[in-house]
C-alpha cells in the first residue's frame, strides 16, 4: 500500500505531496520526506564505485522504518521523487516503471506554461495521474 508520493525540487523545496491513506497526518509524512532528503544528499555526494551507471538514478530503498519503506528517484535536474510504502515485498522492475511513469507525468505538468518552476504543482490533472499511477501500481504487484 503506497502511503504517499512526494516531489521535491532541486533546491529541496517541496513541489508536490500527496498521501493515499486516511490515517497518517501530513506532518508525519513531511517529516519522513525531509529525512529521506538527507539520505539522498548523502548518496549523491558519496557515489559508490559499484553504483548504477544510469543517468536517471533510481536510488532504491532509502531507509527502512518500523512499518514502511521509503524509495527515492533522482532526475538529472536534481528533482527528487520520493515514495513511502507499507508493502514489504516489491520488485525492482515495478518500482522502476512506477517512477518512470511518475517522471513523465511530472514532465507534462511542468511543460504547462502557467506552471512556475520552483513553485508547487497546482495542476489537478497531475494529481489525478499520480493517483491513477499509484492505483495501477497496487494492482500490478498482485501478479
Amino acid at each position: 500500500m503506497i502511503v504517499c508520493v512526494a516531489v521535491v525540487g532541486h533546491q529541496n523545496n517541496p513541489v508536490f505531496l500527496q498521501s493515499f491513506t486516511d490515517s497518517d497526518d501530513a506532518l508525519k509524512l513531511h517529516h519522513i520526506v525531509h529525512c529521506s532528503l538527507d539520505v539522498i544528499d548523502e548518496r549523491v555526494n558519496n557515489p559508490k564505485k559499484s553504483g548504477p551507471t544510469l543517468n536517471d538514478t533510481f536510488l532504491g530503498v532509502l531507509y527502512p522504518m518500523d512499518d514502511c519503506k521509503v524509495y527515492g528517484y533522482l532526475t538529472n535536474t536534481n528533482v527528487k521523487f520520493i515514495m513511502v510504502t507499507t508493502d514489504t515485498d516489491l520488485k525492482d522492475g515495478d518500482l522502476r516503471s512506477f517512477f518512470k511513469d511518475l517522471h513523465s507525468a511530472y514532465v507534462d505538468a511542468v511543460s504547462n506554461p502557467f506552471h512556475i518552476p520552483g513553485k508547487k504543482i497546482t495542476s489537478k490533472s497531475f494529481a489525478e495521474r499520480v493517483s491513477s499511477i499509484v492505483k495501477s501500481f497496487g494492482s500490478g504487484s498482485t501478479f
Binding site: A109, S111, N112, P113, F114, T122, S123, K124, S125
Partner: protein, 151 residues
C-alpha cells in the same frame, strides 16, 4: 496550362515543411505567458492575441491559396468547410469539425478535437476568462478579410 485540381489537406500537409509539435506548443505557451505578464489584464491579452492572429492571417492567406489551389467557394458553408478541412490541416496538422450552424447559415462553430496549441496547458483560476487560442480566431478573421471583395 490547365488549372490544377484542388489538393486535399492531407496531400498539402504531406509536402509542406513541418516543425516539432512540442516546440510549437511551448513557444506559443511562452508567448501567452509573456503577454499575461506584460499586460496583466485577461481582456487585453485576448485582444492582443486576436490582433497578432490578424497580422498572421493577412499574410497566411496568400500562402494558403498558392499551395492548396482551392477553387472559389460558392457560399459561407463551403468556406467554413475549406477552412476546417484544408486550412487547419495544412497549418496545424489537425482537422476541425464544423457544427452548430445557426438558422441563417451566418455563423458556425469550428471544433478542434486535438489542438496542438494546448498540449500540456492547464489554465489557472486567475485566468479563467482567457481565450487561450484566440490567435486562431484572429488568423481566420485576417485571412477572410483579405478575400472579401464586396460588402
Amino acid at each position: 496550362m490547365a488549372p490544377l485540381p484542388p489538393r486535399s489537406g492531407d496531400a498539402v500537409f504531406a509536402n509542406i515543411e513541418r516543425v516539432n509539435a512540442e516546440l510549437f506548443s511551448l513557444t506559443y505557451g511562452a508567448i501567452v505567458r509573456q503577454l499575461l505578464t506584460d499586460l496583466e489584464e485577461v481582456d487585453e491579452v485576448n485582444k492582443q492575441l486576436d490582433q497578432m492572429g490578424y497580422n498572421i492571417g493577412v499574410r497566411l492567406i496568400d500562402e494558403f491559396l498558392a499551395k492548396s489551389n482551392v477553387s472559389r467557394c460558392a457560399d459561407f458553408k463551403e468556406t467554413a468547410d475549406v477552412i476546417a478541412k484544408v486550412g487547419f490541416k495544412m497549418f496545424l496538422g489537425v482537422t476541425a469539425s464544423v457544427t452548430n450552424w445557426d438558422a441563417d447559415g451566418m455563423s458556425c462553430s469550428l471544433i478542434l478535437e486535438d489542438n496542438p496549441l494546448v498540449d500540456f496547458v492547464e489554465l489557472p483560476d486567475t485566468c479563467q476568462g482567457l481565450y487561450y487560442c484566440n490567435i486562431l480566431s484572429g488568423v481566420i478573421r485576417g485571412a477572410l478579410e483579405m478575400l472579401c471583395t464586396s460588402y
